[in-house]
């Protein structure tokens, strides 16, 4: 558990605005707000749990579900207002991911065609069978390595109950 006293999102929840974050609305579980995190970004929407938690793992299933439902609703509002070509959801968890606040934030960014980063051609056709066994080797991992990963995950799921 991280420190509530230094948390910018907890300050937003308490005061309605903090460090470039301005509240839109809140539910019993989550707050939605507008923010921008660096000079290259336009305003985005973020959704955070009202209870201080740095990671989905510090929330209950019901809390994280309520957060994601709030994210979906924010996405609906974003598409109604900006009519974007796309919408990107992202949540960075942990110092290794350079998490901006010590509080889980799920970000939604509107996307437009015509920038070099992070888009496919407008007429993109999905790769055939990219998820299935027909693909025997991926980008970095072989098919056999992926099967090993699945076995490892199934083992940990069983151990966690």
């Amino acid at each position: 558990m991280t420190n509530v006293a230094d948390c910018a999102v907890c300050a937003l929840i308490r005061d309605g605005a903090a460090l470039g974050r301005d509240e839109l609305w809140r539910t019993d579980v989550a707050i939605s707000y507008v923010c921008a995190f660096d000079g290259d970004s336009v305003d985005q929407i973020a959704v955070a749990p009202l209870r201080h938690a740095a990671s989905p793992l510090e929330l209950s299933d019901a809390e994280f579900a309520a957060v994601l439902i709030a994210v979906r609703d924010a996405g609906i509002a974003l598409t109604r207002v900006l009519d974007p070509d796309g919408v990107t959801l992202h949540a960075h968890v942990g110092a290794v991911e350079q998490q901006a606040a010590a509080h889980l934030e799920v970000l939604l960014g509107a996307k437009a065609f015509g920038v070099e980063f992070g888009e496919l051609p407008r007429e993109w056709r999905q790769e055939p069978w990219v998820l299935t066994d027909a693909v025997v080797a991926g980008w970095d991992e072989t098919f056999e390595q992926r099967v090993e990963i699945v076995a490892k995950l199934r083992g940990s799921i069983a151990a966690l109950g």
């Binding site: 301005d22 921008a36 995190f37 336009v42 305003d43 989905p56 299933d61 994280f64 579900a65 994601l68 439902i69 979906r72 609703d73 996405g75 598409t79 207002v81 900006l82 009519d83 070509d85 796309g86 919408v87 990107t88 959801l89 992202h90 949540a91 960075h92 968890v93 942990g94 290794v96 991911e97 350079q98 960014g109 509107a110 996307k111 437009a112 992070g118 888009e119 496919l120 007429e123 999905q126 790769e127 069978w129 990219v130 998820l131 299935t132 066994d133 693909v135 991926g138 980008w139 970095d140 098919f143 992926r146 990963i149 699945v150 490892k152 995950l153 199934r154 940990s156 799921i157 151990a159």
Partner: protein, 147 residues
């Protein structure tokens, strides 16, 4: 204009959901979700969670489906942390539309375990510059458009 989606005769997620080409890299499924380890392992353990029903984007999910994806995403983060002692964080992302690099037109949540020294740099989002009004106007319009 609606969000532009990838073309394709068959939806790969639906093919897996229907069991027409079962994937050995499927981790598990429930009545509402399926979880698979994907070929493009940005970091070892990179997986996706998607709804059984064909739903193109996040915005079209029901409450029940959204909750099920959230629960499974959380469970998979815990499973990854238990499976790999070097996992120190996560990138959770989900793209809607080819403008956001959505390759498969069936909503899917990526869960990527992150490690110190991992080969994949932190992804930057929000570079796109759609015509966004000033914040006060944007906020007023968003509040009016809230479902």
């Amino acid at each position: 204009m609606p969000i532009t989606l990838a073309n394709g005769e068959l939806c790969q997620c639906c093919v897996i959901a229907a069991g027409e080409m079962p994937s050995l890299t499927e981790v598990r499924r429930s009545a509402l979700t399926i979880t698979c380890v994907i070929p493009r392992q940005h970091e070892v353990g990179h997986l996706i969670v998607f709804p059984v029903r064909h739903v193109p984007t996040l915005m079209e999910l029901t409450n029940e489906e959204t909750a099920a994806i959230a629960t499974e995403t959380r469970a998979m983060a815990a499973a990854l942390q238990a499976a790999y002692s070097d996992v120190e964080g996560f990138l959770i992302y989900q793209n809607n539309g080819t403008a956001s690099f959505q390759e498969v037109p069936h909503v899917h949540m990526h869960v990527v375990p992150r490690r110190v020294g991992g080969g994949w740099p932190r992804m930057r989002f929000g570079w796109s510059r759609p015509a966004v009004p000033e914040r006060a106007e944007l906020m007023a319009r968003l509040i009016e458009a809230r479902p």
